[in-house]
């Protein structure tokens, strides 16, 4: 293979105040190739990509882009050199239009004047949007776009800057199956145009399917490297974890009881959910499958009293819940782990301790003045840290912002577990969480169910639902389309039910 290498690393190293995060990383990405970069959270993937994208500078080693030494002093310099980094958290301005976002740093001007050439902006944006397969007007405000559409706009922006190397960091975490397929098709087209890509993902099946070459990072070093067909799912996981995980899902011993804890009858809210009925039993893990926008999260929000509903009934432990607030619902034993960990699950700047005790704070106080009982408080925190197997490296007083995604999610879970909920709604609990931490979260979910809690598990990963649930509900366009007991679990069947019925198409 003599094609000029789009990107070459040799002997890259990076430390943060004496702690090595990258050691001797060498790899190549030929033009038109897609490199899969996998590794657990904290393995050094993001640091490595930040080096390429000019956000950080290496301590040692060299990068070459298309044969030329690449040492960007800033992210702008890297972009100029043809590197586009599409982040996990998207970097678009929601208040600006698609066109404004794309040309923000390089608006075409009218002649030599500072006046923006609107018609050219419009035309070029339209062309770019067609290229990425997005049927939207260039002046649509970005805040009206779904996450998947935002991702495509980011790629359009990369194309507008004539990127030769596109880095995609966990692009599918918040995409539904349909949007993911659109993205993958676009990646195939980009590949044909000779654009090199680095694809970072925890979804190993996607990595294996999409990429030409693979690099596995562990503790900042390359532990596996080669053409994609040399790897299997199992081998990748054992390389990433450093030990072999024989199974991805823990053993489930107990089976749910028959006693219902949560009953939903004919729940409806115009344009959101339509006539939803189901029963959640004690100790049951009830999965909710569906595409993005199927109304799963919306259903969860209604159940937790965040959004109104027009008709229907929600019954918990035999008592009908009227229109009540989250505070009252928590008092009745309901817990809700939202899909948006950073904005709704955590106080990022607050300490681990304060986050863990937030929900059940009242139990940590002493009468008569409801002052905190620090002994009881510390004990509760220690118990919860053990229960969720939170990393021992982090101090109680450390802000949760400094934790990895998996550990942050464990903090959110710990916060809810401390309140001893009898019904848990988990919305995408393993999003952005690495393989090792995922397994631990699964174990925790099983332990909870074994102790008699009813669990409503919303997930976009079908594997996860198949591996964990006792029963799966499938939603599509706000309707319940299937209710499958474990014996009838079938990937095909779930996908069939999840796809919207054709009627002019969405």
């Amino acid at each position: 293979m003599n094609a000029p290498c789009a990107l070459e690393f040799s002997g890259l190293a990076k430390s943060f105040s004496g702690v090595r995060v990258l050691t001797e990383v060498s790899l190549t990405v030929p033009a038109g190739h897609t490199l899969g970069l996998v590794g657990e959270n904290g393995a050094g993937k993001s640091t490595l990509m930040n080096l390429v994208a000019g956000n950080l500078r290496p301590d040692a080693g060299e990068m070459r882009l298309n044969g030329v030494p690449h040492a960007p002093a800033s992210s702008a310099a890297a972009a100029h050199a043809g590197v586009a980094f599409i982040h996990q958290e998207l970097n678009l301005f929601p208040n600006l239009s698609i066109a404004e976002n794309i040309f923000l740093t390089a608006f075409p001007r009218l002649g030599g004047t500072p006046v923006i050439d609107r018609s050219r902006v419009h035309a070029r944006t339209a062309a770019l949007l067609t290229e990425v397969g997005l049927a939207l007007a260039p002046d649509t405000p970005v805040e009206r776009l779904s996450t998947g559409q935002c991702q495509l706009v980011e790629i359009a922006k990369a194309l507008s800057q004539d990127a030769r190397l596109i880095i995609l960091d966990e692009p599918t975490t918040s995409l539904g199956a349909h949007e993911t397929a659109t993205l993958f098709a676009l990646m195939a087209r980009l590949k044909e145009r000779g654009i090199a890509m680095i694809y970072i993902s925890h979804v190993l099946a996607d990595v294996l399917r999409l990429c030409d070459d693979l690099v596995v990072l562990r503790d900042g070093a390359v532990v596996g490297q080669g053409s994609c067909n040399e790897f299997t799912h199992e081998r990748l996981v054992s390389l990433m974890v450093g030990r072999s995980l024989t199974q991805f899902f823990p053993e489930r011993k107990n089976r749910p009881a028959v006693e219902p804890v949560l009953e939903v009858c004919n729940l409806s809210e115009p344009n959101i959910v339509h006539d939803i009925s189901f029963t959640l039993r004690r100790g049951e893990i009830l999965g909710v499958a569906g595409l993005m926008g199927a109304g799963r999260s919306e259903l969860a929000r209604i159940l937790f009293g965040l959004d109104p509903y027009a008709a229907g009934k929600i019954i918990m432990e035999g008592e009908s819940l009227g229109r009540i607030t989250p505070k009252q619902l928590i008092g009745r034993g309901l817990a809700f782990l939202t899909e948006n960990r950073r904005a709704e699950g955590l106080c990022l700047e607050a300490s681990i301790a304060d986050n863990i005790t937030l929900v059940a704070l009242r139990d940590q106080t002493r009468t008569p003045f409801r002052l905190l009982d620090f002994n009881r408080w510390r004990e509760a925190i220690a118990t919860m840290r053990r229960a969720v197997r939170l990393t021992a490296r982090a101090d109680d007083a450390q802000p949760v912002r400094t934790l990895s995604g998996g550990n942050q999610q464990k903090v959110v879970l710990a916060k809810w577990l401390l309140a001893k909920p009898r019904v848990l709604i988990l919305d995408e609990p393993t999003r952005g969480v690495d393989v090792g931490a995922k397994f631990e979260l699964y174990q925790l979910i099983f332990e909870l169910a074994d102790r008699g809690a009813g669990i409503l598990l919303i997930s976009s990963e079908i594997e996860e639902l198949l591996g964990l649930c006792d029963r799966i509900l499938v939603m599509s366009r706000g309707e319940l389309r299937a209710d499958l007991p474990r014996a009838e679990f079938d990937r095909e069947k779930i996908l069939q039910a999840a796809l919207p019925v054709e009627e002019g198409n969405a």
Partner: protein
């Protein structure tokens, strides 16, 4: 050899940088700054170290501390209360018109002073409640609500007194602020109570959670609206309590009392380390901030500078402190 001495020099600089870094990152940086400022100015400033001046300084900072204390609660929620100065003015004139010996509503009655104090406190809490309700129920931005509140209530205070000061206040009332020991005891007790509330109570924890992330707090069962409302009520109450002290010190009820302290209140709180973005704040920080600001005030006064110069220098000092804070954040952020 040369290498060795080089290495030694490097280790000394390293240690020095580490120490400087520790001081810069210390949460009581402002206290150190106050001490340095005091020591640096003492030789040039006549009377700065005299016992009378120090007592004056301490007594003068008490009411400001009380206002800043209330402001701390509001800032922790991520809000701001600009109406505190008008609350001070309004409470002052209402209290004075109840208690004054000339034509007061309760002139000469034995219970006039306690009733006046209670009325002032209730008024302060009521103004705070109005602010809080507008912010939590009508979802209006705190800045606008309290800015317009400030305009309305200071206007009301002037209208109420026809722009006159109210004198002839009985000693039973004025000594609350005039007597340094009494004023000190009031401020100390309030400060201690507030400290306990912030660090040990359920309410305090809820307050911080609300400031950190109101959405997360709400979803975790924190009564966000109630907590926010309470913060404004506490702020109004503290401003009224400060009005009792200010009025006592001035021995007159004045509709323009405290008009100039708004910058001091917010400046002192922020200098102390409380964040304008919410989620951060301590009673002791605020005390240090107030101490620093009052020290600057006092020393510039002793240097016989004009009020304009003092204001200019104070603005510079607040800006400098803000700059230090920004640097501090950068330092803290650069830690991996």
């Amino acid at each position: 050899m040369a290498d060795l001495s080089h290495a030694a020099a490097k280790s000394v600089t390293d240690r020095l940088t580490a120490t400087l870094r520790r001081v810069a990152l210390s949460e009581y940086l402002v206290l150190w700054l106050s001490v340095i400022y005091f020591l640096a100015l003492a030789p040039f400033t006549p009377g700065l170290v005299s016992p009378e001046n120090l007592v004056n300084l301490l007594v003068a900072l008490l009411p400001l501390f009380l206002v800043a204390l209330g402001q701390t609660f509001v800032l922790i929620t991520g809000g701001i209360d600009l109406s505190v100065t008008s609350t001070i003015a309004l409470s002052s004139v209402v209290g004075a018109s109840i208690v004054n010996g000339n034509n007061g509503w309760l002139a000469g009655q034995w219970f006039a002073a306690p009733v006046a104090v209670l009325a002032m406190l209730a008024l302060g809490a009521a103004v705070g409640a109005l602010n809080g309700l507008a912010i939590t129920r009508l979802r209006m931005p705190p800045f606008i609500v309290t800015l317009t509140g400030m305009m309305f209530f200071s206007g009301l205070a002037i209208w109420f007194t026809q722009s006159k000061n109210i004198g002839g206040l009985p000693v039973a009332f004025t000594r609350l602020g005039g007597n340094g020991w009494l004023a000190g005891a009031i401020a100390l007790a309030t400060g201690a109570f507030a400290h306990l509330m912030l660090t040990r109570s359920l309410f305090g924890r809820w307050l911080f959670a609300t400031g950190h992330n109101a959405r997360t707090a709400y979803l975790s069962g924190v009564p966000v609206r109630g907590v926010t409302l309470a913060a404004y009520v506490i702020c109004g109450f503290c401003a009224a309590l400060a009005a009792v002290l200010y009025t006592g010190q001035a021995e007159t009820g004045s509709p323009v009392l405290g008009q100039r302290v708004l910058l001091d209140v917010i400046g002192a709180t922020i200098i102390g380390g409380t964040s304008l973005f919410g989620g951060k704040g301590k009673v002791l920080w605020t005390l240090c901030g107030v101490l620093f600001l009052k020290l600057v005030d006092n020393s510039l006064n002793l240097l016989n500078l004009s009020i304009f110069t003092i204001t200019m220098v104070k603005g510079g000092v607040i800006l400098f402190a803000a700059l230090l804070d920004a640097t501090r954040h950068r330092l803290a952020g650069s830690r991996p």
